[in-house]
């Protein structure tokens, strides 16, 4: 097995980015190291990116919130002359397995969503300062910023050239954000997405592709001014210093990956992995000051970091493991106490960041293309935040009554405020609202049991679990379910699950992960893009794609 793709970044040695901190304003410069590709066979020319570049970006965005809460405005710019960013590296895409492309796009989408939401969630605004060519994924980076400034040097342009140039889509939110976020009129968007050269100057502003077009000679100065103004008008409270996120400790063996609070046990023959989450063992911090002093070792932050790393590790490095089983063990009451410190101090910057982080991580779970199942066993601690896992997965199985030779406390579920608002899904509904989309009154009845330890029978009655099983049936039923699941086509399962998980309204985010991604993934499988004569394969050779012109 080759070295796994590692999402744990050494923040002291970014290869592709430079960050300068200056009080409330941070400047994030993209300066991709051409020879720093994650894999062999391509050079990251013209500030193009691959997964390795994006892993660093994700890390920076994350640290900006935890380590630099004093930052209110982040200016995203290029560290290279004449080019802002040319987007995802085409040769990398051309050479990549389909599964890698899909995973890569999902991760980059998640990163963009994360910094886009930083303004609302954390009061950190991103300004894209665009100088030079800004094409495809480059413009998508800018689109995810809260404000786009383009220099008017008569050459710099923003563009989405994927369709004419590569026969694929701007799949990192591009097609969705121009219409849903920037409200570009659809016919103008149609022109914009059909021209390789992009749109520059005043027209880019007129078409709402950028927020501001700035004279080239005063560009840097104007960007600084805007950053200062945004920072001073921000209502983000001043925070003196953040906390340090140290590199996660992780241990990988052949069939086991473990962190301090999580152990993932891989059953290769059964194509499944069980995520064992451990509840807290120590009392909740008495105050946010204590929490902050515990820093990245505070239980709920540590668990969240480890869960995120586990999700990403398993997504990228264990592609054949199609079924993820969630299991928790611990003291539900203690867990709820840890959580209530955060909810009671929701205005505290660090409490807020940890909660927002959980929101993002739970969303990662929602969009993970694996069958997800949760087991509510005796001794488990599905309370509040961890109970959200029950409503994120495709099915839940809960133990009912006492099991022979099992002296653990009886399985229960504890609902808290966490299940009724702070952790919405991409559709902006809570997981319970989505679950009970046709019976909103069931959300009410669940809410009435907040704080109580809900046993299996009650949980079943309230519709919180899929199936409750006693000692006689548990083992066999679950074995049969897992064997059956493992036998189905993984493609059909991915499609089925992704459709069933997101009932309710569409949002920009669901459209990105649903409509845009699904179409992109279809195109990524079509010969016109990826066949030996397809545009993506032929890119760089000088020979054009040879298309089958049948409309499907």
């Amino acid at each position: 097995m080759s070295a796994p793709i590692d999402f744990r970044v050494d923040a002291t040695a970014y290869r592709h980015w430079q960050v300068e901190y200056d009080g409330a304003v941070a400047t994030l410069s993209m300066n991709v190291d051409e020879s720093g590709g994650l894999f062999e066979g391509y050079e990251l020319k013209l500030n193009s990116y691959d997964l390795g570049v994006d892993i660093e970006l994700n890390d920076i965005v994350q640290r900006m919130r935890f380590e630099h809460p004093e930052v209110k405005v982040v200016v995203l710019r290029s560290g290279k002359d004449n080019v802002f960013c040319a987007g995802a590296n085409i040769r990398m895409l051309g050479g990549a397995e389909h599964s890698h492309k899909v995973n890569f796009c999902k991760f980059t989408n998640e990163t963009r969503n994360a910094f886009e939401a930083a303004a609302v969630d954390s009061g950190q605004q991103y300004i894209a300062a665009v100088k030079g060519a800004c094409a495809g994924g480059g413009y998508e980076l800018a689109l995810a910023c809260n404000y786009i400034m383009l220099t008017d040097d008569s050459t710099s342009a923003v563009g989405l050239p994927e369709v004419p140039l590569l026969a694929v889509l701007p799949g990192t939110g591009g097609l969705t954000r121009i219409t849903d976020k920037r409200k570009v009129r659809r016919d103008l968007a149609d022109i914009f997405c059909s021209i390789e050269e992009g749109v520059k100057g005043q027209r880019a502003k007129d078409w709402k592709l950028v927020d501001e077009v700035v004279s080239n000679s005063t560009f840097d100065e104007t960007v600084r001014e805007r950053a200062t103004i945004f920072a001073s008008s921000s209502n983000k409270p001043d925070v003196e210093s953040g906390i340090r996120l140290k590199k996660l400790e992780r241990n990988i063996t052949e069939n086991n990956v473990s962190w301090s609070t999580i152990n993932v046990e891989i059953d290769r023959a059964g194509r499944k992995a069980t995520f064992h989450l451990k509840g807290p063992t120590e009392a909740a911090p008495s105050s946010m000051e204590t929490f902050q002093a515990q820093s990245d070792q505070a239980y709920l932050l540590r668990l969240c970091r480890e869960l995120e790393d586990a999700i990403l590790h398993m997504r990228f490095n264990e592609m054949d493991i199609g079924l993820w089983v969630f299991s928790t063990q611990g003291d539900a009451k203690l867990l709820a106490e840890h959580e209530s410190l955060l909810s009671e101090n929701a205005e505290h910057w660090l409490a807020n960041e940890v909660r927002q982080y959980w929101k993002r991580t739970l969303k990662r779970l929602d969009v993970t293309s694996r069958s997800l199942v949760a087991l509510v066993e005796h001794g488990s601690c599905y309370a509040g935040i961890l109970a959200e896992i029950l409503f994120a997965v495709d099915r839940t199985y809960m133990m009912e009554d006492e099991f022979e030779d099992d002296d653990r406390s009886l399985a229960t579920i504890t609902l808290t405020d966490a299940n009724f608002g702070p952790f919405p899904m991409a559709n902006e509904l809570t997981r319970l609202q989505t679950r009970f989309i046709g019976e909103p009154e069931l959300v009410e009845s669940a809410s009435a049991h907040k704080g109580a330890q809900i046993d299996a029978a009650k949980a079943h009655e309230l519709g919180l679990v899929t199936i409750i099983l006693d000692d006689i049936d548990w083992e066999d039923e679950i074995r049969i379910f897992m064997e059956e699941r493992a036998s189905f086509s993984p493609d059909a399962l991915t499609g089925m699950e992704a459709n069933l998980r997101f009932a309710g309204p569409e949002t920009m985010e669901t459209r990105i992960f649903g409509r845009l991604t699904a179409w992109q993934n279809w195109i990524f499988n079509r010969p016109n893009a990826v066949g030996s004569e397809g545009a993506l394969q032929r890119y760089g050779t000088g020979v054009r794609g040879n298309f089958d012109f049948e409309r499907v």
Binding site: P164, E197, S215, N216
Partner: protein, 483 residues
């Protein structure tokens, strides 16, 4: 078709493309015209605008006799739209459409690629005029002043030629791009020219000669490859531009040659035998050969950068599309499609310069640069002949292609003029030996004094062997308006 050989002067814009009948394009060009005249008027110092310059104007595109010489004030120069005669039944000479009839209209699928190539080419034309705008003030003779202005007005005409293509074939987008060609300006903070070499200053006349010899030669190579284009109007336009461009290179080659000659003559006269005796040579009021070598190093390497990346997707696409060919495409013996061919390019591996075989299609830029290097060596040989004939042991040489590069694989390393990879420290220690220093520039500037008397030449440059249009050396090539 004899009619396309002659130029029609009945519209405001002289042309051989039937503009008189093409009301829409004529209107568009006439709308663009005032902006152009305005650009020109603001560019070159006013006293030169009012001077009478002995210029050639194209009156036909017949290679046998296409020019007419006369005195003209530059703003009144008849900048025309001139295309080489159409070749009957011309076919696309290369790429995947090879053998099909050449396009007379823009093929929709290549609209963007064509437009981009035309815009980049168009952007260089006014760029060089902007770089050279103040040189008139220090002209070493009226003969050279005329040559400068000739080059300038013809670069202006080349801009016209590209603008015509944009206006005629690329609709609204093309018109906007045409406007932007006047918006960008060499070295501007606001909107610089697209290519780096065209934002560098041309501070003195030796730079001008080096520029016309080396950088205009890049222009020639680009025009040669665009002249092969399957898009016939572009091909015809470029074919005629090449005819004019030849004179620019002549100005460069003879210009450098005359600078060298003046140095050789002065050294011989003063009895200096060591060309490296820089201080004493400079005291003679001429430019020493080592400094000429440094200038050559600079302009040659900036020009190599204009060829772009050695391995280039854009160049491959343009070739395969039949839009931009190779130098002397018709003389190359291959399938003109490069389906299975490879080409050797240089690359850096483990700190060494290595040769690699890559698909020839992706190495079209590299091949053009190799052709350029051969083409550029001819004049250097002739300068060396003069040095040898004058009895000096000195040779001007073009540096290795790895030396002083900003674009392509060599941009990542430092190399000396012989192509040895060196450390940053070695570069810092050697660069003053290889490239012009501030002090060299100051010295050359000190020589740049105008010499406006007919038949007189500045100390640092020899008289030409023959004048332009067979006029004698003391002919008044420019009747200066010294208001």
């Amino acid at each position: 078709m004899a009619s396309t050989l002659d130029v029609s002067y009945d519209t405001r814009i002289p042309n051989n493309v039937g503009l008189g009948q093409d009301r829409k394009v004529l209107k568009a060009l006439e709308k663009w015209h005032p902006g152009y005249i305005d650009w020109w008027n603001k560019l070159i110092p006013q006293n030169f605008q009012n001077s009478m310059v002995y210029l050639r104007t194209a009156v036909s595109v017949d290679p046998k006799g296409w020019t007419k010489f006369d005195y003209v004030k530059m703003p009144e120069y008849r900048w025309g739209v001139l295309l080489a005669p159409q070749v009957e039944e011309r076919t696309i000479p290369f790429g995947e459409h090879k053998g099909k009839p050449a396009w007379q209209e823009v093929p929709g699928e290549y609209r963007n690629m064509l437009k981009r190539l035309i815009v980049i080419q168009g952007d260089t034309e006014p760029g060089s005029v902007e770089q050279q705008r103040f040189l008139g003030l220090t002209a070493p003779s009226l003969y050279d002043l005329r040559n400068l202005f000739q080059v300038n007005v013809e670069e202006g005409r080349h801009l016209w030629a590209m603008v015509y293509l944009l206006q005629k074939y690329f609709g609204k987008d093309g018109r906007e791009e045409a406007d932007d060609l006047l918006r960008r300006s060499s070295g501007s903070d606001e909107a610089p020219r697209m290519l780096g070499a065209f934002n560098e200053e041309t501070p003195d006349w030796l730079s001008f000669f080096m520029f016309t010899y080396f950088t205009d030669r890049d222009g020639k190579m680009q025009l040669e490859s665009l002249a092969q284009s399957g898009f016939d109007p572009l091909s015809r336009t470029c074919r005629f531009m090449i005819t004019e461009e030849a004179h620019h290179m002549f100005v460069g080659e003879t210009g450098v040659g005359r600078v060298v000659q003046a140095t050789l003559d002065a050294m011989n006269k003063a009895g200096i035998s060591d060309p490296n005796d820089i201080a004493n040579v400079r005291d003679l009021g001429v430019i020493d050969l080592p400094t000429i070598q440094k200038k050559l190093n600079l302009h040659y390497t900036l020009s190599l950068d204009l060829f772009g990346q050695e391995v280039s997707t854009n160049a491959a696409n343009a070739f395969n599309a039949g839009i931009k060919g190779r130098f002397m495409e018709h003389r190359i013996k291959d399938d003109h499609q490069l389906t299975n061919d490879s080409y050797t390019v240089k690359n850096i591996a483990d700190g060494k310069i290595v040769e690699e075989e890559v698909p020839a299609l992706t190495a079209v830029n590299m091949r053009l640069r190799d052709d350029y290097i051969r083409d550029a060596s001819g004049g250097v040989g002739r300068w060396n002949k003069a040095i040898k004939k004058a009895g000096f042991d000195f040779q001007l040489t073009v540096p290795h292609e790895a030396f002083h590069r900003q674009i392509g694989v060599f941009a990542s390393i430092k190399a000396d003029p012989n192509g040895n990879i060196i450390t940053n420290d070695q570069w810092e220690a050697g660069k003053n030996e290889w490239l012009p220093t501030l002090e060299d520039g100051t010295f050359i500037q000190s020589l740049m004094k105008p010499c406006y008397e007919p038949g007189q030449y500045a100390s640092w440059i020899a008289a030409p062997k023959v004048g332009i249009d067979n006029k004698p050396g003391d002919f008044e090539f420019v009747k200066l308006h010294m208001a």
